[in-house]
């Protein structure tokens, strides 16, 4: 199986670049409402926590001292002889930043780089959806050595910049995700982590929890290769690309133990991230088309969906 050939040091994996244009076409029209009301600010597509005087009427409230007299509904005052303030829901933008894991474990399987490809497609697709909602879109790539940061912008070219950043990146090493997440959390109200969550300690989960507590919307997309869920049955000496010192024989007995341990870890990870208030999703390479994955991730699941 070509997927299992050992990666030579310095070798550049050859794989076909995904067709981002087709993906962008297929996600056009998808909306990605915030899971909860966002803090006000710049008018946008998401329900804001601010109550203002926009055209979208919500309710009347009796006038209180200090209210702006211009907000009194004079027609109602004429009919009821009582002063009411007309309230309406404000709409706001939700700056969204995609945090992409570019560690060596994402370059798997070795031949097709399926995990990296799916992660890149999901990142571009989600960014495009957010951009279509007029949300500023940012991008942070946690790569070996430094971070690639694209601050949230609403301009049209931000997607192209993301594509170029992905094309210039080859997953390698074992870069920490927490600094990338912190950078994204400082810039955005919605952070999407696209990673396989291997070798990520509790720091990333703690940072995500803090972000959730502070009112930010955090999404976690766990990318898994099918070869990780069901490795080949032949005896192999498998090594961890992020920790080369880990070289272990994967034979019949070890395979059973591996399947149990990996399954338990996935369940534990899903439980921990969900408990922290993160919208946790799993994406298995080859299970669904990228645009379907984007639709699943952006489907309304929070408060805003019912608002």
């Amino acid at each position: 199986m070509a997927l299992w050939r050992e990666a030579r040091p310095g070798a550049v994996a050859r794989f076909e670049e995904p067709d981002y244009a087709a993906l962008l076409d297929s996600v056009r029209g998808i909306r990605w409402p915030a899971r909860s009301a966002v803090r006000g600010g710049i008018p946008g597509a998401h329900t804001s926590k601010m109550r203002g005087s926009s055209a979208e009427f919500t309710e009347y409230r009796p006038y209180r001292q200090g209210d702006d007299l211009r907000r009194i509904d004079w027609k109602l005052f004429a009919r009821s002889n009582r002063a009411y303030i007309r309230l309406s829901n404000d709409r706001a933008i939700l700056p969204t930043t995609i945090v992409l894991d570019a560690s060596a474990s994402m370059a798997f399987p070795v031949g097709s780089l399926g995990k990296w490809t799916l992660a890149a497609q999901a990142s571009i697709g989600l960014a495009a959806v957010a951009r279509n909602s007029a949300d500023p879109v940012g991008f942070v790539v946690a790569k070996e050595g430094d971070l690639i940061q694209l601050p949230p912008r609403t301009r049209q070219s931000v997607i192209n910049e993301m594509v170029r950043a992905i094309q210039d990146t080859r997953p390698s090493g074992n870069p920490p995700m927490t600094p990338a997440f912190d950078a994204a959390a400082r810039m955005s109200g919605r952070i999407v982590i696209v990673s396989d969550f291997l070798d990520e300690g509790d720091d990333l989960l703690a940072a995500a929890s803090r972000a959730v507590v502070s009112g930010k919307e955090v999404h976690a997309l766990h990318v898994i290769a099918p070869e990780e869920i069901d490795p080949p049955r032949e005896t192999l000496l498998v090594s961890d690309p992020e920790q080369p010192e880990i070289r272990r024989p994967l034979n019949g007995d070890a395979r059973d133990a591996y399947l149990a341990a990996f399954s338990a870890w996935r369940d534990h990870t899903a439980h921990e991230w969900s408990e922290a208030g993160v919208a946790y999703s799993v994406a298995i390479v080859g299970d669904e088309a990228p645009d379907h994955l984007v639709r699943r991730l952006t489907s309304p699941r929070g408060i805003a969906a019912t608002a």
Binding site: A7, E228, S239, P241, N251, A257, Y258
Partner: protein
Amino acid sequence: MTFLAPGFFFASLAVAAGIVALHFIVTRQPRAGILPTARFVPDMPATATSKATRPSDLLLMLLRVLLVLAAGAGLAKPIFKPSRGAEARVILADISRSVLDSGGVADSVRALYRNHDVLIAFDSSARVVSGDSAQHLRRTNVRGNISAALIAALRAGSDLRERADSVELVIVSPFAGDEIDAATDSIRSLWPGRARLVFVSSTAPSPSSVPLEIRAASGDPLGVAVAQARGNANVRGLIVRSATGVEASSEPVIEWPISDRPRGAVAKPVRDTIGGVTANGALVVAPFERRWSYPADSIRGADVIARWIDGEAAAVEFANGETCNRSVAIPVTAAGDLVIRKDFVQLVAALAGDCVGALALRPADEGQVAKLAGNGGLAPREAFPPRGDVTSTIAPWLIGLAIALAIAELFVRRRRSAEAVSIVSRRSGSEKRAA
């Protein structure tokens, strides 16, 4: 090519087979691959044991097999031109009086004899003769003695020890009863293997159906006893009541004179009376007047077949070719009932039995012959004590121990060297720190 100690070579073959088998069981690292989730694989030694369809490391296996085979062959002491055959025989050829025809013995010996064999001719004594003289074997009139021949065979076995791996004992004999004595079984048990018995014709006469007869005057009282004794088994011969005119006969002739001097006897100076006489289990208690006695000189070579109860000879037997002549000095009186007494009839039957020499020449008991044949395989050469210096069997083990110690010395020396390097490095480090 052969080996002096083939066990070592066979052992090396077994070890080499084990080495080949081990090369089919390979312990190696399996094919490598990348798996980001490798951390979830149980931490085990990164090797796997599997059975290969073809041996691994052919060159190494060949070297190991050759090493073991060379060591085994060396310890087995190979000999390219062995001076020793696989098998040799010790042939005991009977030339005693028991043998009817020495030509039959010679023919049997010629058919059996091969190079490296030892031919021993025996009668009452045994001597080694050359194989070429087998056709010159001649019968003697001496009683045969298989015990003496077996002792000579044991000595010959030690001589053959250096010439053959196995030694076979062959006895060419009629196996007459008088050739086997009380010591034969014990001596035979000293031979460590079975024996091949080759039977040749015996001189033992065939039993005669002629009844016991008496040549005497009418009214001879002995005739009454003879008539009654005819009913007993193995009673045959001719009783002659006179000392003269004895004819040659194929049957035992019993000279039992009425009043003449029996053959070989002399008149006693003073007649005396004795109370009884016994012969071959028959005992007659009655007063007998003794007129004759057998002096030792006159009965040399004869067998006493009846004795007075004081031990003196009452009847003797002289060998006469295949038959015998007996001389009886027992008076038979007409008065009284002596001749019709049962014990006297038994005495007459005992005196009229087969000749002593004929009894001896009869074939030995089947059980005795079977003991001579024995059982098991051929006698191995190691079972015979060497006649020369004894070579210790511990020598190859000492060689093996020396090789093992040499290998151990290599490991110990390496370990000492490593320790020395470690000490030197530690010392230099401490000196640097002190400086």
